[in-house]
Every structure is written in structure tokens, then in C-alpha cells.
Assembly symmetry: C2
Homo-oligomer: 229 residues x 2
DNA sequence: CGAGCGATTGAAAAGACTCAACCACCGTGG
DNA sequence: CCACGGTGGTTGAGTCTTTTCAATCGCTCG
């Protein structure tokens, strides 16, 4: 595993380059970024940052998946988002000037680069495209969260699970969805037992296929119907 | 009411000036803004914009209160936010480049100024303070919504109501909270009947005082305890 | 004064949660 | 190589919260 932890990804070839906010960087900017970031390997279930601590920079997820969550009163996690390769993590708190409001933890082995606060803010100041990209990103997420709130408030657990599975398909792209039942329950916002019972129903209805932890969606259309609008 | 509708508020004296994102504007900017906005009077329950329509500018709430909400599958409203005097409304969708994801409607008579899209975007481009203020605002709201989601997912209706009342105290400042039971239920995310029963409990416990529609919080501390962290 | 809408109450049903027990798989150490 | 322990997954039963539906009340506005 040590060799993996030293795996070096140049910013020019990094996935985030293609997908993310850094997509429009020119050669010079890339070179600069290259020199000012630290890439490291994370094991499964490693923490990137904790709620209420102070941001020192942003994380660029090159490979792997990361859950963004918040703990409720009784310590139960509510997963707000699951980030996949190419996403930049943790810039919201940094831009708000407040401590983190959520925690982030890897769901699997991951390669993640760290870009310091000053570095990132300077880039934002000097690169209007990046800046606008970030503003757009923030606004879109705000819209997503309004949807999330409405779903939570008005949909049944069954509907929310169907919705969550559709979201998870995008997170896992062509791979099977691979999440612990507890994490999945904490994403849907329900008890683990309830989640398991509903997965069983979906399986019996032929909507999904389950192998232990792994889960494949068979009938997206039907799931969408269940999920509602 | 016609005279009211012609009430003219200069940008220099507008409440939004003091509170909002425009707080740092210099004389020139204010003069410019003054010339390029349209101020109008809204009656109660008038719509500012509808979900899925396209933004043409932003609204500056000078006087009154506005609910920002989204309709779920069955048409039930989920209130995401209640804006009070001084807030700027509707810039998220404008910045995301997508149609509105929520609707906005006055809860009472209001004075609201409209600033066109180009106008607003130009201001953002030329005024870094405004720009940073907006970025900060977006980030903070994102954090608030993560809290909102977690509350919805994990708290009981009773806890959520307590929490909502505390938020509403801030929205209504020193005035009594004045919302229809239905709106309040749609803010808390519950059925109207459930909301009414819980309000009755709170009244019996001496936490609030109720006069028909109007509601005064008597024991904030206790409510906070009920609301939890 | 009457219509109508919002507020309120009651009763029953449904959905989801909790708790407790049990199972199955996996890696470890003997 | 196998027994062991532990974690995560699963099931069942009972309980509680919340919703739903139906009916009533009461105020306000024509």
C-alpha cells in the first residue's frame, strides 16, 4: 500500500482537471497548482475534516468517494452528499469564513490532493472563470438542497430510498453501489432496519439486485416512478 | 393603496442598504443603482416568481416578509426560508444560470425593488466587496440548509416546531409571529393538524401565547432545550 | 345575516422506529 | 486448517408518532 500512497498524479492529468472547476486552467496555472499542492493516499474510513474545525484549504478528490455528513443531536450521521472523483471538497466552509459545518470521510481508498487556503483564494481572485464556476456551483447546490429538504419533509422513506438509489447510481457510475447499510440509511434519513426491509421489497419487486453489500439497479424507470417528481 | 404603490424609497435610505449585501456601496454606485431599479408595492400573497420560470433579475425586500418555498409531488408547499426586510431575493437561480427552483410570495404587504439581471451582474463584476459578500452568503446558506436537512431527517415534529419558532422570532424580530397555521406547518414540515396540536401543547406548557393567528414566544430558553443542539 | 375559509378537535390507521435476538461472513490466531 | 470473536446484516414483534379523514367551530367579509 505504501507505493500507492506515493502515487503521483500531475494536475494536468488529474480527473478533476477534466470534470471540475479547474477545467479551464491554462498551462501556467496548472504548473503553479502543480507546485503548490500535496497529493496523498487515504485509506477507507479516514477523515478529511471534522465539523466545527477550521478550514485550512480545499481537497481535490482524484480517485475514490467521500461522504459529507453532519451529526444530529444523538450522534447519528446525516449524509448530505457523496462526492466522487473529480469533485472539490470543502470550499464552502472556507468561503463562508466559518468553521466546517459538516464532516468528510472517505468511503473507500482514495487519492486526494490538498490545496492551501491562500493558494485557493488567490486563484479565485485572479481567475474569473474559476470564480464564476464556483459561484455557479454554490448556487446549484443550494437548489439541490432545497429539493433535498422538500423530499425529507414530504416523501415517505420508500420514495426517498428510490430517489437516493437514483442519485447513488450517478455517484457509482457503472459500478455497483457499494455502501454499508448504515451509511445508506443515513443518506436516506431512516433507521438501518427500515432501510433493509425496503431494500428487500425492492429486490422482491425486481427493481434491484443485491449481493451482500453490493447493489445493482435493474429498473431505473420504475424507481423514478416510485421516487416521484 | 395606490398611493402606497407609488411610495418611493431612495436606495440611500433603504433598509437593505444597511443590512444587506449593498451595505458597502459608495455614492456613485448608489446613484447608479437608484437610476436602474424599479420599486413597487406588493399586496399580501402576491407572487414574485414561480418555480421553473427564468430569472430576469433580483428582488430587494425593503419592507415586508416573503416566503420562499417549493412544491412537493402532491402540490404541498415546503417553505425553505422566510425573508425579512433587507434581504435580497432570487439571486441564487440567477447565478446558477438555471430556472428558479423555488417560488417566492409575499406573506404581507411589502415594498420590493427590482434590479435587472444585467445590472446586477455588472455590479458583481465591478464590485469585489459585493461579490465576496454574495459568495459568503451563498456558502452560509449552504451550511444552514445542511442543518435544515439534518433536522428534518432526525428530529421529531415537536423538536422541529421548537426550532422553527426560534427561527421565526428572528424573522419577526419584536413583533408577534404572524403566519397562517398552514404556512407554519409547511415550514416545519408537518400536517396542519399536527402543528395545531403541538402549538396547543406549547401553550399549555406556558412556552408561547396565542391570539388567533398571532403568536408570542414566552420561554425561549425552554424552546431551545426542546429544539436540541 | 350568510357563505366560506381557516382553525380546531376526535378517532382511526398507517408508517416508521426501537429493541432484542439471530445470522452470516470475515479475518485472526492458535 | 479450523475454531473464535466481532462486526455488519437481517428478522420479528410491539410501540409510538404522525398522518388522514371527517366533522365542527368561529371569525371575517360581502
Amino acid at each position: 500500500m505504501l507505493d500507492k500512497s506515493h502515487k503521483h498524479v500531475t494536475c494536468s492529468t488529474c480527473v478533476s482537471r477534466k470534470i471540475s472547476l479547474f477545467g479551464t486552467f491554462c498551462e501556467d496555472e496548472l504548473k503553479h497548482l502543480e507546485e503548490n499542492h500535496a497529493c496523498s493516499h487515504y485509506k477507507k474510513n479516514q477523515s478529511l475534516f471534522l465539523e466545527s474545525s477550521f478550514p485550512r484549504g480545499v481537497y481535490c478528490l482524484n480517485q475514490g468517494r467521500v461522504k459529507i455528513f453532519k451529526r444530529g443531536d444523538e450522534g447519528k450521521e446525516q449524509i448530505i452528499h457523496i462526492a466522487k472523483a473529480g469533485e472539490i471538497i470543502g470550499f464552502r466552509a472556507m468561503l463562508s469564513g466559518e468553521p466546517y459545518n459538516v464532516s468528510a470521510e472517505t468511503l473507500e481508498e482514495s487519492n486526494i490532493c490538498f490545496i492551501g487556503k491562500d493558494e485557493f483564494l488567490t486563484m479565485m481572485d485572479t481567475n474569473p472563470t474559476l470564480r464564476n464556476g464556483i459561484i455557479k456551483e454554490l448556487s446549484k447546490e443550494l437548489a439541490d438542497r432545497a429539493d433535498f429538504i422538500t423530499n425529507m419533509a414530504q416523501k415517505s422513506v420508500r420514495e426517498r430510498l428510490a430517489f437516493a438509489l437514483i442519485l447513488l447510481m450517478k455517484v457509482y457510475e457503472n459500478e455497483p453501489i457499494n455502501l454499508s447499510r448504515e451509511d445508506m440509511a443515513n443518506f436516506v434519513g431512516t433507521a438501518t432496519e427500515t432501510l433493509i426491509r425496503l431494500l428487500k421489497e425492492f429486490k422482491e419487486e425486481g427493481l434491484i439486485e443485491v449481493q451482500t453489500r453490493k447493489l445493482i439497479v435493474l429498473d431505473t424507470r420504475k424507481l423514478m416512478e416510485i421516487a416521484g417528481k
